[in-house]
């Protein structure tokens, strides 16, 4: 990677520091009581797609296991993207895999969520300088929650599911189905 593009190397090209991401506030973002009720049903039954690419996949399996049991929250794994609400991208995404991740996400039924689990899914992780790794799955699918860790502990994944539940709780369902939330 050339020095100008490499964020770890100080050069005139990136002398202004990292660029700021503007937050976007969507119209009608306040949820009503009916929305809260509907959202309670939705967050109590998050079916996640069993999508494990690399090491984070093993921690995902350990999280579904006896010690930290995701099934307590109603979160079970589904094999088919059509039946899942949550795409838990666990592991490194390569360019060869990128199109397929996009296809899997497109096949999921609305309302759907994506959690980028682990460093590789967040930003490419320790493979950022590799020629074949996508530097973050948010280049391919819109991510709702970033979960740091390499790999994140089961407790961290548990926390991510709880945070996702909080996020779902505050959404307007009608706007979400139209794709605005």
């Amino acid at each position: 990677m050339s020095d100008a593009a490499d964020p770890l190397v100080k050069s005139p090209a990136n002398a202004d520091g990292p660029r700021v991401i503007e937050a976007e506030v969507y119209p009608g973002a306040i949820a009503t009581r009916l929305d809260h009720a509907i959202n309670w049903f939705r967050e109590s039954s998050i079916w996640y797609l069993l999508f494990a690419t690399a090491c984070c996949g093993i921690e995902l399996m350990q999280t579904g296991g006896p010690r930290t049991d995701l099934d307590r929250f109603g979160a079970v794994f589904r094999a088919s993207p059509r039946q899942s609400d949550l795409l838990l991208v666990a592991g490194t995404i390569t360019y060869k895999m990128a199109d397929r991740v996009r296809l899997l996400w497109a096949q999921m039924a609305d309302p759907k969520y994506v959690v980028a689990m682990g460093s590789c899914a967040n930003c490419g992780g320790l493979f950022q300088r590799s020629y074949s790794v996508v530097c973050g799955v948010d280049k391919i699918v819109p991510v709702d929650l970033y979960l740091p860790g390499c790999p994140p502990r089961p407790e961290a994944l548990n926390e991510a599911i709880l945070r996702l539940q909080e996020k779902m709780h505050g959404e307007r369902w009608a706007a979400k189905m139209k794709g605005q939330a």
């Binding site: 509907i38 939705r42 109590s44 099934d71 307590r72 109603g74 094999a79 059509r82 039946q83 309302p111």
Partner: protein
């Protein structure tokens, strides 16, 4: 007696003061009552399917030494409600290239096939929507509609994996109809009637009056029917059509939201039908131990309602015990490969069910009901059954205690949940 018609007649006499036989608008009330009976049946299944999923997940959790849903509602009892409403709120997806009409109606075939069987199930003394005199045959016939639905789902999804699942499941369901029907044939021959209420009436409340313990061929027929029914219901060890680790959810790989829920609903409904039929045919149905049907039929007013409720509870308890066995089986045993599944059916179950029929016929001729040989057979089978249940319980206790000792040795503290407490 035809409960629905009887109730409609009484309603018409009470509400409109007309004679049902001559009133020209009687058909409207009949239609209304039929609809009501259907709604009650569907409602029963809906209310049953949900909590049974809760039971399955908690039992699965306990078998797998984890917890299972316990956050959604107290001890997780509302989990099924959340699952159902969430699926209801999902987008209605039809895959590109799928046959839209067939894709949409396939779940209804499966649903309809399953629910059609509910009208003849005797839930209590008089709690049966339609006591057909070909009840068992009707159940076997109407549940075959499921095959059509699954094939449609598999083909219309425009996915090769769905096709695999659909075709496998069609082969499996059609094959296992045979041993299932033949084991029930043994019961029909012994009871002398195909009517469900008739089969229940031929048994009694006490275990030694159940068909299960009457003669060894009926005992074998029970296990044959149970195995074949598990295969009919696509449950492990016969869940090849929806084998998750092979077929990515099999025939319902392209279904999402409400349509997927229909398939799941039908699977749970089938679980109930299978257990209910086994209860009716082998375990004495709704018969209350110690009370004869004549006594129940003669009761009036509140006692009448009480007997109905009690018989329903007895029926539900027996069916639930069988359901618990099926649920435990799912999480214990691996699944059979398709050719092994077919061999099991055609090479083992079908010949054995023939043997059962012949055996039952032979014993019906040779053994007089109430005679010495009959009593000896019943006593022997009863003792064997009792011993099996006791041994099962002792085995569970032994394993639990060993597990507890191991845990305490490793962790240095008492095991965190005893069997009587829910985590």
């Amino acid at each position: 007696m035809n409960v629905v018609q009887h109730a409609a007649d009484r309603f018409m006499r009470w509400a409109f003061s007309v004679d049902p036989a001559t009133w020209p608008h009687a058909w409207i009330v009949y239609a209304g009552f039929i609809l009501l009976a259907a709604v009650l049946a569907v409602g029963f299944v809906a209310l049953f399917a949900g909590p049974v999923t809760w039971l399955e997940r908690r039992v699965a959790g306990r078998i797998m030494s984890r917890i299972g849903p316990n956050r959604v509602g107290p001890q997780g009892v509302l989990q099924w409600l959340a699952d159902g409403i969430k699926c209801f709120l999902k987008e209605d997806l039809v895959p590109e290239g799928a046959d839209r009409t067939l894709f949409r109606i396939a779940p209804y075939f499966v649903f309809g096939g399953m629910f059609g069987a509910f009208v003849v199930l005797p839930f209590g003394v008089h709690l049966v929507a339609a006591d057909l005199n070909v009840g068992l045959l009707y159940i076997l016939a109407v549940t075959s509609l499921v095959v059509v639905g699954l094939l449609m789902a598999g083909w219309a999804s425009n996915s090769k994996w769905a096709l695999f699942g659909g075709v496998r499941s069609a082969a499996q369901l059609v094959s296992y109809e045979i041993p299932s029907a033949f084991s029930l044939m043994a019961v029909i021959l012994f009871a002398g009637t195909m009517s469900m209420q008739g089969v229940v009436a031929a048994q009694g409340g006490w275990p030694w009056d159940w068909f299960l313990f009457r003669n060894p061929f009926l005992f074998a027929a029970f296990f044959l029917y149970f195995t074949a029914a598990i295969a009919e219901g696509n449950r492990t060890p016969f869940d090849l059509p929806e084998a998750e680790s092979e077929l990515v959810a099999g025939y319902n790989v392209e279904y999402s939201g409400m349509r997927y829920l229909f398939f799941m609903f039908a699977e749970w409904a089938n679980l109930w039908i299978m257990s209910a039929v086994a209860t009716v045919c082998f375990l004495g149905g709704w018969q209350i131990p110690g009370v004869s049907p004549a006594e129940v039929a003669a009761a009036e007013g509140l006692a009448f309602v009480g007997w109905q409720a009690l018989s329903f509870l007895v029926f539900a308890a027996k069916a639930s015990a069988l359901i618990l066995v099926v649920v435990q089986l799912r999480w214990t045993v691996p699944r059979l490969r398709i050719d092994q599944l077919m061999f099991t059916c055609w090479k083992y179950l079908v010949p054995l069910s023939f043997v059962c029929i012949l055996g039952v016929l032979a014993l019906m001729v040779v053994v007089r009901e109430g005679g010495t040989v009959d009593m000896i057979l019943r006593a022997a089978l009863l003792i064997f059954g009792f011993w099996a249940v006791v041994e099962y319980a002792r085995r569970i206790r032994r394993t639990y205690l060993a597990d507890k000792a191991l845990y305490e040795r490793m962790e240095g503290k008492a095991m965190w949940y005893p069997p009587y407490r829910m985590p």
